[in-house]
Structures are given as structure tokens and as C-alpha cells.
Symmetry: C2
């Protein structure tokens, strides 16, 4: 069993494509980690904006979370329709391309790609940040921990979606079970105590209000809370990963994710309101997150607390996985339209689009290294990317239903409401967060689109250059002049000259003189004589045209220049005839053998291919030892 | 001007070889830094062993340094003779090879190579150590400083010996001028005060004796002091770098280095004796090196102190340069005898043996990283390697003069004395330092020799495999079957098929089916029709045998396997006939274009070369845009 099989699993045939598909139970962890994980920082972000209101913030938290949940419901129904209308891989990119044209689709693609990269870096660093604030002794290893988790997640994804999906299922369902259970118990307590539940561990008292309520403050809180909605689009981007019946499995996945997320958001707001939980300043000592206060208030600091908080840490770390599912898929779609290098569209031995996985790993790794593993302040940028995607997708769906016409008025209305609300959301977020980082997205998105367009232009130009002007016209069929790289006679050169003689009667052995020294003149004559005696003689005796030996100096030790000069001279002497250069090459069986051979044959070949001109062929005659 | 020209200088032609050679004034810094720099730690190492004697050590330091200086004189005369006898590159390796046989030469080579690598790591780390003990705020950057200096030294050497030599001349001559001047002034003070010079800065008082004098203690002090002699062999190894008259320039270089080193050793011992300088424990606070005490005692703590100590730091750091001159040369010699990969013997565009320089940089860099930039305790290992080299070289010279016979008795005697003394020195050092690290050398030297022998065996076997069994026998000259990798018709494939038809009438276009989907069957038929109409038709119309199209499935997406299967089938159908595979390849002009193309053509080619068997040729038909 080869090393690569152990690490990445056996290779999979094309016909196994279907077997790698997933159902809804595996789809929730594979595509929902990002969306569900963001419930841990969305409400907290909203409450943080409300800190200046002090205890009054409890009265307003409902007014901030309610529109977010309403937006989530609208998005849920909108995306159900998208999945139905585009049951193949149909995220914002496809929807925008088919309904709004290429520029809108590139806008969606750029927003998505940036979002996915940010998500990996931020998800992992937020998880590790939460971990190190629980276990401060791990603090010095922050970056190492981040990169280690990145590598594990990337490796799992290189094995393929199905196995990676199940690897993440346990913490996801543990998180859902513990928090939905806790919230249910909390709500029961609230009802049974008529709105005055006794907290097991009392949350820190809220400070007196320092500011009056203003619309701007509530808008900013709403914008901050909207980070809870990032990741909802993942299912529509990943529909292609589901097994038959695709639409049903995808709908179920979306339903579970949105329902759980909505319950979590509404539940957290409710419990916060009645138990009196507020956000705390993270830079102050004694800081406790809202979720930590929530678990402590409802369940105390026992086993349940550590299990629940552990599941939060885990799914934050693993929420990066959503990107590893989505990023390669969107890149593949974009690459199939020639906006990205074609390698992004090639399935590897495990049917994974490994170039996309690798690219994502490297970019996210660079972000982590540059920020030293602390990238929390990139979190706000998410919401912008996500809402940009939502908006493009919804507007595309509106156009889709309009074109279809007929009995789709209700569907059109749903997506129109979705589009209108996400546009409003986008504007609010962009306004509220411009200085906090929205400007970065405003730079990065057009830059990404410019790169995508440049790549497309390159392929378009190449396609034009390659397309035949007219029918196939056979050029000259004269046999070519064959040059054979020749140093001294051995089995390898014997075979090379035999091969050359099968191709053409016009064979020239080229001997490159690499060093100049006094004794070389005699040496040269001796070599010429040996060639006449050993090679040319026997060939002539068979009644064939004997090969000639040409000795050319290589004053700068590099061999490409002199060979190219010779090719040019031959080209001028026999215009219209092709020149072939035959290079004998030792076939190396083992990797370490490469260390023992200069790559001269390969370098010469590469230089000839790059600069050889129109009528040149480069022939490699591999020689295997023992054959 | 290209970037590489700015960084490394313009390329040099073979005929410029002579111009890159150096004279003695440049030779002293280029080859003497190691030897001269070791005067800063040799006497200190000897005095450190004598610390238990307290003030009594001053009475004995002369008895330890005197035999070292005597040994140096013997080595000087011995190496003069070696240079005379071997005026081409003739270090211990050549001398041993010619006189003692291959195993002795490999012993010398292994000892030298290990020594050179150690010297780089230890020299740089010792220099940086001295620097950071003067400027403690640099302490946290120890490793970074070490690696930075390594890169600068390596880059200077990649530009070539001459320029690198002059870069190092200033600190070398500054060091010599300041210390020889200081010692002269100190000796003058000693004489003028009849042996009781008043120190400007009094050295710390010596402790009372804790131990009695013993022969073992003096032997250990001698062994420690012998580190001062490392690097003396560098000139004999580097004779080839000198300009004409080679022997004279080399002799002058050796004379300057040995005379300066001898004066420094004797002078330091004399000044230490009369001024009462002793070694201090480096692990204790307030530590001052012997040289620091010496400069302070003679010149006080003024400008002279800082200039002199600065020059010590600099030449310690730069003593690594000796290795960069010597290591590539010894590797080249060993590689010419097939004990190292041949790339070590290839002069690059600047006529430098850059593989050796690079290898040295990487190994020394690894040592530095592994030891975190603190490799001082490797210093003792030097002396073993150096004395091993001395001994092999001297014994070889004795055999040399015996073989020459005649009037060489005096010369034989000199080298015999040299051999005897270095053997004694080697045994003393090995015994005194076995536990301190000599055992590492005893492991590393045979291991290195084993690797060198394995490489030689590989090349010998390859040479036997390649050597023709008999005269050139022309195999079948039937024109080969030519397969052309064919995806869809474009200018590139048009040209490829034209080329193929010039080589053989038997042309087969091979179309690899990468994906399986329902609509593909029709697609395949359409492609076959298009091929018949567009390619085969026009060729047949010219009266030639039309090419065929073969469509083969590639269920695992990799293309090598199916193509190799096809080759095998053709091979069986037409035994004795060669098969050529023609792969059209896009010639890429700019580096970034590679990112936009999968390396399919190159990967296929590499796989065919590696596994293609006996009768296969791989033809690349490069296609350049716009041509």
C-alpha cells in the first residue's frame, strides 16, 4: 500500500462519483457549521453595540434580533426556491450568470471567494482564541494551533466530502443538542416562574445606561447581529454534493440549518432578556461571553457547562470546513467559465477539486501567519460578503421568475421581498461598518473581479490564437533533419542514433564542447575518428546514409544557446523542413537517483521548447537500465 | 539588465577563468580567515583548561603554547612542500589519493567536508555570540543574525571568489594590524619595564590554585589550544584559485597566514604571562574574554579597544568564508572521481561551483537552526578533523618523496616530522576530547565515507550498464508508429499531425475520454466524423496514408495508464518497431502563464519516459503563439 493511499485514501474512478454524494444528515455538519457557528458570535456582537444602554439594552435586544430572525425566514424561503430552480450546483454565481449576466456573476463569485477565505482564517482563530482564553497556558502556541487545525481540516477535505462530513458530525450535533436543550429548559423556567427565573450562576450586573436609545445605535446593533446569518448560502452553493433526491436532501439540510439557527437566535435573545444577560467588554479582565453566561445561568458550572462550551469551541474551529466544501465548488464553476485556471476544475484521484482546497489552505494560512493567528477583527467583514451574495442571488431569482412568467407570481414575490430586505441589510451594514473594515471588501471585490476578467481574456486570446483559420492543410512532408545530442558513445547514444535513423536519413550527432583546454584539440580529432569508425562506418555498410558528427563550442557552459544557433543555421539551409532534436534521457526509477544526475537533458529540452521556433520537434529517447 | 545579473553579476565565459584567480593579498582574507580567527579562541581554550591552577597557570602557559607554535612551524614547512609538489588543486584529498590510495583520500575528504560545515556554523555562531554578549539587546535575534550573515556570505561567494575575497579583506587586515600592533606595544612595555608592565585596565585577579600541575592537565590544555591551528590547511586545498605564478602566490599566502598566526599565539602567551591574564568562566557574570582583557590591559578602553574587538567579531563571523572557498573545491575534486553527484563539478554562470556553495549553506543553516544559533560546543570537534587531515596529508607526502627518491631526503624528513607530530597531536586531542565530542567525529567520518562509496558504486554500475557490449549494430530501421495526443482540432494539433506525417506514414491520433456521461456516446461519434472530414480526408486526398483516430477511456482521470496500455498493445502487434508519442505542447513565454495551464503534457511526458519501456520515443511539438 502506497503512502499516498494511506494519507488520502485509494483513488476513485469516475463512476464512483455518485457514491461520494451526501445526504442531509451529513449535509448539516458539512455545510451548516459556518451558519450554526455564527450564532455564537452574532447575538454577542449585537449586545456589544448595546453596552452603552446598560440594563436598558435588555428591553431592546428583542427589537434587534427579531428583524434578523425575520430576515432569516425570508432567506430560508428564498433559498428553498433557488435550490428548486437550480438543482445542479446553483449558488449565487450560477443564478447571477443565468439571469443577470457575467458581471453580476463575477461580483457574486468574488464576494463568495473572499468570504470563504476569511471564514477559514476567522473561524479557526476565533475557535483557538476561545480555547486559549479557557486554557491560558496554550496562549503562546496560538499560531501553531491555528495552523495545525488548518492542516487537519485541509487533509480531511482532501480525502473527500463524505468522510470529512462525518468527521464533523459529532461536534455539530452535540452543539445543537446541548444549546437547544439548554434554551428549552431556560424557556420552561421562565414560563414556570412567570418571567422571573432564578439564575444558577448569577450573570454580572449590568452597568447603568450611558447613552439614550437612538435609531443609529439600533441599526448598528442590527448590522453587527447580522454576522449570525453568514453561511446560510452554503447549501445552495453545494447542492451538487447531495445524493438523489437532490432537491429533497438539500431542502432538508437547509431546513435543519435555518430552523436551528433561528431557534438559537430567538432563544438566546429570550433567555438574555429574562435572565438579564448583557455583553461585556472583551478587553477587560473577568470577561465572560454571552453564551458562557447563558449556560452558567441555566445549568450552573457542572459537567453540562464544560460539554456545551467545548462544543462551541469545536464547531468554531471546524466552521472553516464550510469553506472547504464551498470554495472548491465555486472555483470549479468559475474555472469552467475560464475565469480561473483550468486546474481548479480538475477532479483529483479522490474526485476532490484539490487545487481549490490547496489554494484555500495556502491563502487562509497566509492570513493566519500575517495576523499571528488573531484575526477576530475580520469577523465584521463577513457580513458584507454574505449580504452581497444574498442580494445578487435574490435579484437573480426575481429575474428568473419574471422570465419564466406564468404561475410563478408567488415565487417572484418571495424572492422580491428577499432581495429588498437583503439590499436594505447590505446598505445598513455597509454604512454601519464602513470604517470598521467594509472599505477592505470594497477594495478586494473589484480587485478579484479584475483578476478573474484578466484570466478570461487570456484564455479567450489563446482560444482565438489556437482556432484553425481554415481546413487542415498538410505542410511539407519531407523527413526532418534529426540532431542527436551526443557526448560519447554508450548504449544510450547507440539507441538514440538507431531511433534517429528510423525517423530520417539526415542524422547529425551534435557534440557540445564544454571546457576549453590545450589538450582538447587532439581529443576532438580522436572523437571524430572514433565516431567515423564506430557509428558512421557500420551504418554506411548497411547501405544507409551515415550520420555526421558536428562539434560546437559552448563557451558559457550552458548548452541551449549553441544548440539553438545550430538549429537556426540548419533552418536557413533547408527552409521548410522540420528539425527534430533527439535527446537521450536516462529513465530514473527512484527519487534519490535524481540527486545523482544533473538535469541537463531536461533543461535543454525545456529551453528548446520555449525558444525553439516554428519547425522544431524535441524528441526524448528514454533509456532504462537493464533493458 | 536581468535581476539575476544584478544579484550575481554577469555570466562569465570559460576563457575568463584566469581573470577570476586571486593573488596573495586577496588570498590571505579568502583562505586565512579561519586560521587567523581561531587565534581568538585557541589560547583562551588552553587557558580555560588551566583555570584550576589559578595564578600558577601563568607559569605554564608558555609550555602549552610553545609546542603549538612549534607544530605550526612544522606544518608551515610541510605545507610549503605540498604546494610545491601539487601546484594544481592539491589538498589532503589529492595527496592521499595519489600516494595512499582511495580509502585514505576518502578519509581526508570526509574529515575536510565535515570540518568545513562545522566551521561555517561555529564561526558564525561564535561571532554572533561575541556580538550579543557586547550588545545584550540583540540576544533574542541570535538565530536570525546567524542566518542573515550566512546568507550574505553565501551570496558573496556565489558572485565568485575574487569579489568575495576583497569583501573580506578590510576586517582581516584591520584585525592583523590592530592585534599585531597591540602585542608589539605590549612587548615593548614589558621590555621597557623589565618585565613588570603596568596594565591600563587591570585584569581581574586570578584565583588561588585548586589543583596541582599534572601532565594530563597540560596535555588537555595543549589539545584545547590546538583549535588555534584549524584552517591552516585551507591554502593547500585552494591552490587552484591562485593566479600565476601559482606556487609563489600560494607560498606567500601561507607564509603571511602562518607568520601572523604564530606571532599572535606567541604574543598572546607572552602578554598573558607578564600582564597576568587568565581565562575566566564564561558561565559566570562579569566574564571577559582573554583578548578583551589583553586589549584593555595594553590600550585601555578607548577607541582602540572598540576597533580591535570589532575586528575580532567581524573576522569570527566571516571565518565561515574559508569554508565557502574550500568546500566547493574539495567537493568538485571528489565529484570528479564520481564519489559525489556530478553537479558538484559543474561551474555555473559565474564560474563558481554553486552546488557546493548551496549545499554548504543549507547544511550549515540546518546546524544553526537545530542548535538555535548556539553551536559553541562544536568548536572542539574542529581540531580532530583538522589534525586528521594534517596527518593523512603528511603521511601521503612522506610516501610521495619516497617514491620520487633521489635528492628529496630533506623534504621527506620534514614531512616525516610533520606526520609524526600531527599523529601525536591527533592522539592527544582524541584522548583528551573523546567524551567532549570526539566520538561524534568517529561516527560522522565513517558515515560520510560510506555515502561517498555508495555514490561511487552507483556511478560504476551505471557506467557498466551504459558501456556498449560490442560494435554499433543498427536495429530495425522501419519507420515507427506515431501516436499523437489529440483532444480537439486546433492549430496546435494540426501542426502536430503534420509533423507526425513527416516522421512516418503510420499515424494514430489518440483521444482520451476523461469523463463519462450519458451524452458522450453521440459526442464521440461526432468527433470521429469531424476527424474523418477535417484531417483524414485532406491527407488521403494528398495520396498519403490517412491518420486514424483512436478513442480510449481514462476512468481514473490520469492519462498515463491508458496511454501506456495502448503502447503495449501496439508493441505486441508490431514487434520490433519503435513507437513514438507526439505530444503538442504550448510554449509559455512568461512564468505566470504556467499558473494558467495544467501541466498535463509535461506529466504525461514524464510518466512515459519513466515507464515507457524499450522502444518508445516521446516527441514534444512545441507550439508558440503568433507563429
Amino acid at each position: 500500500m502506497k503512502m499516498i493511499d494511506v494519507l488520502l485514501g485509494r483513488r476513485l474512478a469516475n463512476r464512483e462519483q455518485g457514491e461520494q454524494k451526501i445526504g442531509w444528515a451529513a449535509g448539516v455538519p458539512a455545510m451548516g457549521l459556518d451558519g450554526l457557528g455564527s450564532s455564537s458570535y452574532g447575538p454577542e456582537a449585537a449586545l456589544t453595540i448595546l453596552i452603552p444602554l446598560g440594563a436598558i439594552s435588555l428591553a431592546w435586544i428583542g427589537w434587534v434580533i427579531a428583524p434578523i430572525v425575520a430576515l432569516l425566514v425570508i432567506l430560508y424561503f428564498s433559498y428553498r426556491q433557488t435550490i428548486l430552480a437550480y438543482p445542479s450546483n446553483g449558488g449565487a454565481y450560477t443564478v447571477a450568470k443565468e439571469n443577470l449576466g457575467p458581471m453580476a456573476s463575477l461580483l457574486a463569485a468574488a464576494a463568495l471567494m473572499i468570504d470563504y477565505v476569511l471564514n477559514v482564517a476567522v473561524g479557526i482563530s476565533a475557535g483557538v482564541g476561545a480555547l486559549t482564553s479557557s486554557v491560558p497556558s496554550l496562549q503562546p502556541w496560538t499560531l501553531e494551533l491555528c495552523l495545525g487545525i488548518l492542516v487537519v481540516v485541509a487533509a480531511a477535505n482532501l480525502r473527500g466530502t463524505r468522510e470529512a462530513g462525518w468527521l464533523f458530525a459529532l461536534p455539530t450535533y452535540l452543539f445543537l443538542a446541548s444549546f437547544l436543550g439548554l434554551i428549552a429548559w431556560g424557556v420552561f423556567q421562565i414560563i414556570s416562574t412567570a418571567g422571573h427565573p432564578p439564575p444558577l450562576v448569577a450573570p454580572p450586573p449590568l452597568k447603568p445606561a450611558a447613552e439614550a436609545v437612538s435609531l443609529w445605535l439600533l441599526m448598528r446593533a442590527f448590522a453587527a447581529g447580522c454576522t449570525a446569518m453568514t453561511g446560510v448560502e452554503a447549501v445552495s452553493n453545494g447542492v451538487g454534493a447531495f445524493r438523489e433526491p437532490v432537491v429533497k436532501e438539500a431542502h432538508w439540510t437547509l431546513t435543519v440549518i435555518c430552523a436551528a439557527l433561528g431557534l438559537l437566535l430567538a432563544g438566546i435573545a429570550t433567555v438574555a432578556h429574562f435572565y438579564g444577560l448583557g455583553a461585556m467588554d472583551q478587553t477587560q479582565p473577568g470577561y465572560q461571553s454571552v453564551l458562557s453566561q447563558l449556560v452558567g445561568a441555566i445549568a450552573g458550572r457542572g459537567v453540562v457547562y464544560y460539554v456545551a462550551m467545548g462544543s462551541v469551541l469545536t464547531i468554531l474551529c471546524l466552521s472553516a470546513n464550510t469553506s472547504f466544501v464551498g470554495f472548491p465548488r465555486i472555483c470549479r464553476l468559475v474555472a469552467l467559465d475560464d475565469y480561473l485556471p483550468r486546474a481548479f476544475a480538475v477532479a483529483d484521484r479522490r474526485l476532490v477539486f484539490s487545487v481549490g482546497v490547496t489554494f484555500l489552505t495556502i491563502t487562509a494560512g497566509c492570513l493566519l501567519v500575517v495576523f499571528g493567528g488573531i484575526t477576530d477583527h475580520l469577523i465584521p467583514l463577513f457580513a458584507i460578503g454574505a449580504f452581497l451574495t444574498f442580494t445578487v442571488s435574490q435579484v437573480g431569482m426575481v429575474v428568473h421568475w419574471r422570465r419564466r412568467g406564468g404561475r410563478n407570481t408567488a415565487r417572484l414575490a418571495i424572492n422580491a421581498v428577499g432581495a429588498a430586505t437583503t439590499i436594505v441589510g447590505l446598505l445598513v451594514i455597509a454604512a454601519a461598518k464602513f470604517m470598521e473594515g467594509a472599505w477592505i471588501v470594497i477594495v478586494a471585490v473589484p480587485a478579484t473581479i479584475a483578476v478573474l476578467l484578466a484570466i478570461r481574456r487570456y484564455y479567450d486570446r489563446l482560444g482565438r490564437d489556437l482556432s484553425p483559420a481554415s481546413g487542415f492543410t498538410l505542410e511539407d512532408v519531407d523527413r526532418p533533419t534529426v540532431l542527436v545530442a551526443y557526448d560519447e558513445r554508450n548504449r544510450m547514444t547507440d539507441r538514440a542514433i538507431s531511433f534517429a535513423l528510423t525517423l530520417s536519413p539526415d542524422v547529425v550527432a551534435v557534440h557540445l564542447l564544454r571546457l576549453t583546454s590545450p589538450e582538447q584539440e587532439e581529443d576532438l580529432a580522436a572523437r571524430r575518428d572514433a565516431f567515423e569508425r564506430d557509428i558512421a562506418g557500420p551504418v554506411a555498410a548497411r547501405g544507409l546514409v551515415p550520420p555526421r558528427l558536428v562539434q560546437i563550442p559552448a563557451p558559457y557552459r550552458e548548452i541551449e544557446g549553441p544548440v539553438l544557433d545550430l538549429v537556426e543555421r540548419i533552418d536557413e539551409a533547408t527552409p521548410g523542413r522540420a528539425v527534430a532534436i533527439l535527446i537521450p534521457e536516462l529513465a530514473l526509477d527512484r527519487w534519490w537517483e535524481r540527486l545523482l544526475h544533473s538535469r541537463r537533458a531536461q533543461r535543454l529540452r525545456a529551453a528548446l521548447v520555449a525558444h525553439g521556433g516554428t519547425r522544431l520537434m524535441v524528441i526524448t529517447a528514454p533509456w532504462q537500465r537493464g533493458l
